[in-house]
Symmetry: C2
Subunit: 217 residues, 2 copies
């Protein structure tokens, strides 16, 4: 029975996405996905654990690429540079599949149980990146912060990429998101803005002092 | 039956934590928690949906404080400053409960289903913070990045706080984590470090160029 089916995996993914869009994720069965792809349920289950997993099939490849990329970064590469370069190396996984990525994103946003799995996959990506940085000798807190900052940049870039009417590439949007992170982290209200603040009665001096120090815990 | 039970909620939380530590989370029942607290199961379910929820009872208060704190920040406060100040205002929620926080953290780390709920709560905290920033006029990408950076700093500070043998306070550790985030985001391998890089044969010029630009997508 285990005969070779040309591109079975790709056919199953395409069939699943068609059906999810036509009749909704909840009302699609594995039997229907297999039938649409011209394959058996048994073949489906050789490739995917369940109908959710069809949407997360690329997650492991992404994580492997990121971990390998961090490990292979030249010595002394700054932690966030290593994460960003490693994520950049994953761009080709997505770049040819913008339509799929867009459909998948809409589906996930509409289904809490899919969103939950997506969040857990991204959390596990960040943990794996942090572990790979620690293996390079980065201290634990810096490793976690660099990994989470990198994944936040990836997510932000990704969202702009799938929504971009100009269809600029993913690498462009990741670069823009990284620049934006740099501004956000460095941004402090400039002194002249502070002195022009409205409602001075609600700005006691203690607040003003802590604002002057920057983001003040 | 709905008589007033003095500090029923606090008694349930303490009883639950005692039992989770004595016999394990999985083997503790709601009936046992109620009995240990000297209350009925019915009272338990007036306060918590299930035995997991006992550990996440503070999440809503934290989220409310953060959202209100961001909304109340003076006009023109930088986005990350607003998130950091709002999180700082939540410090008293934790500061008096370091032992509880430490026990809770160990329990969550050991149970995937608890860790999953923790991750989802932190994701929802970041989404709420991003929405509060957008309400102040912060652009969507900057809002998401500032919110996620703030939550990453909170997590990193929290982990150092519960592990700190010197028992320095949570605000101290959050401030340190924020400084660390600033270094991580600004850090790029300095030029002299780059020219001293080992294994030059594994550093083709294209890599070197992208390293020179900083974290290069």
């Amino acid at each position: 029975m285990a005969r070779w089916e040309p591109d079975a995996r790709g056919r199953l993914v395409r069939a699943a996405m068609e059906l999810y869009r036509e009749r909704g994720f909840d009302r699609t069965t594995v039997a229907e996905i297999a039938a649409r792809a011209g394959l058996t349920e048994r073949t489906f289950f050789r490739h995917f654990a369940d109908k959710r997993e069809v949407l997360f099939a690329g997650g492991e490849a992404l994580q492997d690429l990121v971990v390998e990329g961090i490990a292979a970064a030249p010595p002394r590469t700054a932690a966030l540079d290593a994460v960003a370069e490693a994520l950049r190396s994953a761009v080709p996984l997505f770049e040819e599949r913008r339509v799929f990525a867009r459909q998948r994103h809409a589906l996930i946003a509409a289904h809490p149980e899919l969103l939950e799995r997506e969040v857990m996959k991204l959390t596990s990506l960040a943990s794996a990146a942090a572990a790979a940085l620690r293996d390079r000798g980065v201290a634990p807190t810096a490793a976690s912060l660099a990994a989470e900052a990198g994944v936040a940049v990836f997510k932000a870039g990704f969202e702009r990429w799938i929504d971009d009417p100009k269809e600029r590439d993913l690498a462009h949007h990741m670069r823009a998101a990284l620049d934006e992170l740099r501004s956000v982290v460095l941004d402090q209200a400039p002194p002249h803005a502070r002195s022009r603040r409205s409602s001075p009665s609600r700005a006691p001096s203690s607040r003003r002092t802590s604002a002057r120090r920057g983001a003040g815990f």
